[in-house]
Amino acid sequence: MPGEVITVVSKHDLIKGSSSSLLLSLLERQPMYGYQIVKELETRSQGYFKFKEGTLYPALHRLENAGLITGTWEMLPNGRQRRYYHITAKGQAQLSKEKLQWQDFLAAVKMILEPGVEPA
């Protein structure tokens, strides 16, 4: 957003601030359960997004309480249960908005870091 005041943030704060976009983005592709989300985040970011796994669930439940995702229990053939999270229509709309914000942000950062290169 033009004219936005920014402060220097740590990697931890960057991850914390983008957690909802990351989770929604993963769930947009396919419904997933918590452990699967942790593994997927770690693999796709090549180890960059590695965090305390227990804190994933409060983040998922916040998104669920906000109506952005829904969770359903599914029984596995071995008798164990897993809670799969699905993105909702409200979550899709929120993700589209957040993606646009990220694109603007990345373009602005690129203009600073690589002054000679035109943003794509």
Binding site: Y33, G34, Y35, K52, E53, G54, T55, Y57, P58, A59, H61, R62, N65, W73, R80, Q81, R82, R83
Partner: protein, 301 residues
């Protein structure tokens, strides 16, 4: 640390309602089982895998706090439901309708109905302010017994007081098992009501003089209930626990000061100090009870 102990610490700190608790704890347990299975598959012993997994999961206090904050904020509908009993009592006094038996009966029936509904529907947070007001009919019945013929009144009270105290203790223990803050929320009006009762009837007996004083104090009594309603509304919307504790403490003390200020000369300093002690009791007894119950649970486990 054992897995059950690890999960119990999270469960104890998250202070969820029965409907949410089972799902959240099962999910965490399933996650740990998946991770332990993966780690043992990679060659670690069961114990090593469990310890590694708990390290990766994170600090129990942090997880519990984040879970609490994910669930603590109530909707606007819950705000309305939770502050309703205080609002009803506030309006009864502000509009001077407290002397109409019809209005009093409606409020009483509403309190009992809402409490019974909430109690049988998973005890949501909005129930606890209503639950506090169910103590009023119990107190009223006790006062009524004082006016039965001498001899009978003492006999009735001898049975009634232990029964009422047992019931009160049972309700407080049940509530504290879930979260001591809900007990405080439930008991918050007690010092306020006691303060106003002493202000209108210093001798403890209700007569013509106390009715006159009740008319005189009615707007201020109403205001103190409306402050409680605003406090509860804010409480329901807050996520952070420390903010909730601070809010109840500040609001309770401010309302008590209002009671004393508007009854100057009728509430002496020792009475004020007594009420402050009751207020401290309301704030300190539930966490102490929770500590005791938690220790007992660990010993029996």
């Amino acid at each position: 640390m054992e897995l059950t102990q690890y999960l119990e610490r999270i469960r104890g700190g998250a202070k969820l309602g029965p409907s949410e608790e089972k799902g959240v704890m099962s999910e965490l347990k399933a996650h740990i089982e998946d991770r332990v299975e993966e780690l043992t598959g990679a060659g670690l012993s069961e114990q090593e895998a469990l310890e590694t997994c708990m390290g990766q999961m994170g600090n129990t206090k942090l997880i519990a706090r984040q879970i609490y904050e994910a669930y603590s904020q109530g909707s606007w509908k819950q705000v309305l439901l939770a502050s309703m009993p205080h609002l009803l009592f506030g309006l009864l006094f502000v509009l001077n309708w407290w002397h109409y038996p019809g209005w009093l009966s409606i409020v009483l029936v509403l309190i009992l109905a809402a409490t019974a509904y909430g109690w049988t529907r998973g005890k949501p947070t909005w129930l606890f302010p209503w639950l506090g007001y169910t103590l009023l009919p119990v107190l009223a019945a006790g006062i009524f017994l004082l006016y039965t013929p001498t001899g009978w009144s003492w006999l009735a009270l001898a049975f009634y007081i232990p029964l009422a105290l047992w019931w009160l203790f049972h309700i407080i223990v049940q509530t504290t098992r879930r979260d001591w803050l809900l007990s405080t929320l439930m008991l918050l009006p007690v010092p306020i009501i006691t303060g106003w009762f002493l202000a209108i009837s210093p001798s403890g007996k209700i007569n013509e003089y106390s009715i006159q004083r009740l008319y005189y104090f009615a707007p201020w009594i109403g205001l103190s209930f409306l402050i409680l309603a605003a406090t509860i509304a804010t409480f329901i919307r807050l996520r952070q626990r420390w903010l909730r504790v601070g809010l109840l403490a500040v609001s309770g003390l401010l309302t008590l000061t209002l009671v004393v200020y508007h009854s100057t000369g009728r509430l002496a300093t020792p009475t004020f100090l007594g009420l402050m002690l009751v207020m401290w009791g309301v704030f300190l007894a539930p966490p102490l009870l929770e500590r005791y119950l938690g220790r007992n649970r660990r010993t029996t486990a």
